[in-house]
Symmetry: C2
Subunit: 228 residues, 2 copies
DNA sequence: CGGTTGTTTGAACTTGCTCAAACAGAGTGG
DNA sequence: CCACTCTGTTTGAGCAAGTTCAAACAACCG
């Protein structure tokens, strides 16, 4: 049904352990990190940042590049649950182990933040945690709607619109990921992704350029129509 | 692609508003409610408990029956993101408005808990909130894997196993929901659900009884195998 | 008993998948 | 600089899984 990339460890049940709030200090709005600096780290294209089951000792904020988080089935089928763009926080979970794996899509730099270092000024942290969880859950719920209800064209259209919105780069989207990433995110095959993009080009709704890694949104209204 | 049930309000962007932790009181383990009683309410089959966009004034805990939470596309296609069984908390979100709708699958009784009443003893509440979010996110991530990667048989097999595990009723599962609910949960049609169940019966892995609303798991190992 | 609702079953069809091959760009080494 | 390889993308043809449409069936209920 999907690209088999690699066979990895099976999914385990993860016990709950939730860090408790202790103090009354209010956190800043939502996405800002309480320690905004963190340790800067770089990852090469396709390099693993963490794997499912790894300790949640660190969480990360994307500085440049794109990160994919995903789960695997035993036979290697992969579901990419999200792409994380600059500014996005990922890997911040209340449990002791990561439930996803994370990899650099291209060259990536992130800031790594030690979770235990946060345990002190706790209320601020637990609010960050809650904000991160909320954001992830919102994405997940929207994406279930895409995966469960939409056809190939609708999936691609929503994907492009979503990406364009997050990158907010006028009407040109430089896709940081390859076709197989898009396919594994949308529950399609690379061929269908390719064909559907070609179809949208034929209809004049989008254009492809730069070795097919850049999309121009010629007609957002039409795309929004198609994304329904 | 899926059963069109009704056309409802489109999805809005929801601003963040996150209740803050204030106190150092530790909450009980995870799922227990700080106010365990709440107000008991009953809902008739298919009755709406809350709709997408409603204020998150109340959240709920299932006492008896089953609740479905779902999102709709403009044309009525529906994605049921979860079924909530006795003991499960649903509708507990940090935002001001619900992002899902909730309906009673059959006769349902719940306890309703006013969110604002919780704001006082806050740390306990925010931990509950976090636990609820964590639980929901875990489900959502697992379900994305199902929706994005698995075929009909694998979907049905995982669904039955998951339900059996949560109900922990020996090897018999009484399905509280109808085929169209299962279909809209798994991204299939009612016909495919029906055919796939029939196929599993033919293979001897499960049995159907009680007007096709009860499933006996004759061979869990085989089912687990098929759930890939 | 007849009507309604939910489920099953069949047959035809369609979407997206599989398999295969061609193509294009980026490196690499002679 | 060209030939060669490697990786990623496109394209085509055939196929299969799942959908659609339609009809029959079963249980329930007034």
């Amino acid at each position: 049904m999907q690209t088999a990339i690699a066979t990895r460890s099976p999914v385990r049940a993860v016990p709950y352990t939730i860090p408790m709030s202790r103090d009354g200090v209010l956190a800043r709005p939502s996405v800002a990190l309480s320690n905004p600096s963190g340790v800067r780290r770089s990852f090469a294209r396709n390099e693993e940042i963490f794997a499912e089951g790894d300790d949640t000792e660190y969480f990360y904020k994307v500085v440049t590049g794109t990160v994919r988080t995903y789960k695997l089935l035993n036979d290697g089928r992969r579901q990419i649950d999200a792409f994380h763009l600059p500014g996005d926080v990922f890997g911040l979970e209340p449990e002791e182990q990561h439930r996803n794996s994370a990899e650099a899509v291209g060259e990536v730099t992130v800031t790594a933040h030690k979770r235990s270092a946060m345990a002190a000024n706790d209320a601020a942290f637990s609010n960050q945690l809650l904000a991160a969880m909320t954001r992830r859950l919102e994405c997940a719920q929207n994406h279930m709607l895409v995966l469960g209800c939409k056809n190939a064209q609708e999936k691609i259209a929503s994907f492009l619109l979503g990406l364009a919105e997050r990158l907010s780069t006028a009407d040109r989207v430089d896709l940081p990921m390859m076709r197989s990433d898009i396919a594994d995110h949308l529950g399609l095959t690379i061929e269908t992704v390719s064909r559907t993009l070609a179809e949208l080009v034929r209809e004049g709704v989008i254009g492809l350029a730069a070795g097919h890694r850049a999309v121009t949104l010629n007609d957002r209204a039409a795309l929004r129509q198609l994304s329904a």
